[in-house]
Assembly symmetry: C2
Homo-oligomer: 334 residues x 2
């Protein structure tokens, strides 16, 4: 560990602290703490929040971003696969939007470079919101309360897909969950996690989980083949990166998901087939590490994973601006 | 107007007020102001809010109370009729939950006595959330974070339908929208509404709208037949009170809806057939008052109605407790 040089002012400040305050050296680990968010463009974040919660971005007027990435849950819908337009089933499990900004790319197959590009997909996808982009833009543009905000923020009366998704992405970048118990431990609070949880973390490292699940999001930094030690049988039609690149080596390569808040983001895997964390850890051991975890080991790792639950942001439900007299009305049953 | 006797203390207080403060006599009108809510049981309100936003009360895990009574909108979904389980269309338009506690009964046909009784209906209704009550209770009971709250609030480890709907109703009672411009005017602020809006209100009274739309909610105090001056042709199968009582005189009698926030609660009528306020006012004039409003009159009444938009409560999106390991999982596609 690096020695820390303390300034005189800092030492003076220390003397005023109570006995319960933790003073310690941050740990150097392959998992790093999540930094609290700093909002630099509050008006844009507010606009993005409104759009995130607005079901008028869907053809039916029922489905919003929040339907499948529910911020009242762990940023997902806790379903195997989501329910989309006209009750269609999605092909893969909805990943959490919390800490999604840490991903090297977006979607399980990484087909969008960033959150802004990602936001375009579900609006138009027929099995999700089924709203042609031009109609989505027309609807938002026709709502006086939105037009005003777009003009103030982007200096343009005309709503564009670019600005619309930029605002959504700006909001989503605020959806991070700092201050988990594990982060407190990383920052030097030895008592923030229990002995069993600590053992689980050591096993998580020594058994190789950490090779893919690392960094601030405990995942999201790479693609990995689902099924290194034997084929993974899935109900999902997705072939991962292969669907994007057409390269044989990319078949069944999926983005490694974040494990932040993983106790809240059940069910697991791209197909949502694992209902519990225990099942997921067991299968990962066998399929990705060629190792059968004992039950006590699974319990330890699951205990560690529960320390990754951070503070979800407090979200004031937005007051969405009313439709204008000429706003195209939703057509749920057409 | 009644003369007002001012106490010495009040007169002393007056002398300290700034010039912009409005001092006036409250108006005596058939519409009365909405009083701000006083929360006496915050823990119960919080629990009710969680349940209101929790889609696990539906069989699919997708539909919550907030889906059709969207608090980000005007307490409704702004659809002609709602989208329910497996994308079924509801038979009537979802009424707003804002100020619903003022209603003499709940639902368009008044089949529930109060908010608590109302809350039972949609959970189990096949075209809405399609969740048998016993399963809904089992699910909530199986969620540790809920069990704890129910025990603390009701002193009972076992979740009951009665307590579950009591908590939802307690939350819904906080969903009122005070301090509309019209209320400010009622309370004596002459400048809170414009001359045109005032004219609209005078016309609203003189033409007879006020006969049904009165009281603090500007409606909700009685049933009325839809179609007094000629039959109303509707796409809806609902026959109003008749469906509840079987009494011939009750056929097409519907609860008079609140006009609070009516500019946000489009489309209008029990069948959602009127898309705009102008259409609604026009039809009400002809069908209920035997009178054809001129366009300028319609505009005046619509202008008045826009003064009824109050302050929607600020809602912190709840952090819903995670399902337990044995919680029955949603079955959207079964």
């Amino acid at each position: 560990m690096k020695p820390v040089t303390l300034s005189t002012a800092f030492i003076t400040a220390l003397s005023t602290l109570t006995a319960t305050t933790v003073i310690a050296t941050p740990r150097q680990e392959p998992i790093t703490p999540i930094a609290p968010v700093r909002i630099t463009e509050p008006a844009k974040v507010e606009l993005g929040k409104q759009l995130f919660f607005d079901p008028r971005l869907s053809m039916s007027g029922v489905i919003s971003c929040n339907t499948c990435h529910n911020l009242a849950f762990g940023g997902t819908d806790n379903l195997k696969t989501s329910v989309g337009h006209k009750w269609q089933a999605g092909p893969v499990n909805s990943p959490t939007v919390f800490n999604a900004s840490y991903g090297l790319a977006q979607f399980w197959d990484g087909r969008a470079a960033d959150l802004q590009e990602q936001a375009q997909g579900p609006i138009q996808a027929n099995v999700e919101m089924a709203m042609p982009h031009n109609l989505a833009i027309e609807v938002i543009q026709s709502i006086p309360g939105y037009r005003k905000q777009f003009e103030a923020i982007y200096g343009d009366k005309n709503v564009s897909l670019n600005n619309l998704t930029d605002a959504i992405a700006e909001f989503e970048e605020t959806l991070i969950t700092p201050n988990s118990r594990f982060d407190q431990w990383l920052l030097g609070d030895n008592d923030a996690i229990s002995v069993a949880e600590r053992k689980g973390y050591e096993l998580f490292k020594s058994s190789g989980c950490i090779a893919c699940h690392n960094g601030p999001a405990v995942g999201g930094t790479m693609y990995q083949k689902m099924g290194l030690f034997g084929a993974y049988k899935s109900s999902s039609p997705s072939q991962g990166r292969f669907d994007v690149t057409g390269i044989e080596a990319d078949r069944y390569q999926f983005k490694v998901p974040t494990l932040r808040n993983v106790e809240l983001t059940y069910p697991y895997f791209h197909d949502g087939e694992a209902e519990t964390l225990g099942e997921a850890v067991d299968l990962m051991g066998r399929l990705q590490l060629g190792r059968t975890f004992k039950e006590t080991e699974i319990n330890q790792i699951v205990a560690f994973l529960s320390t990754l639950t951070g503070e979800r942001p407090d979200i004031d439900l937005p007051h969405l601006p009313a439709s204008g007299i000429n706003t195209h009305r939703p057509e749920p049953f057409k």
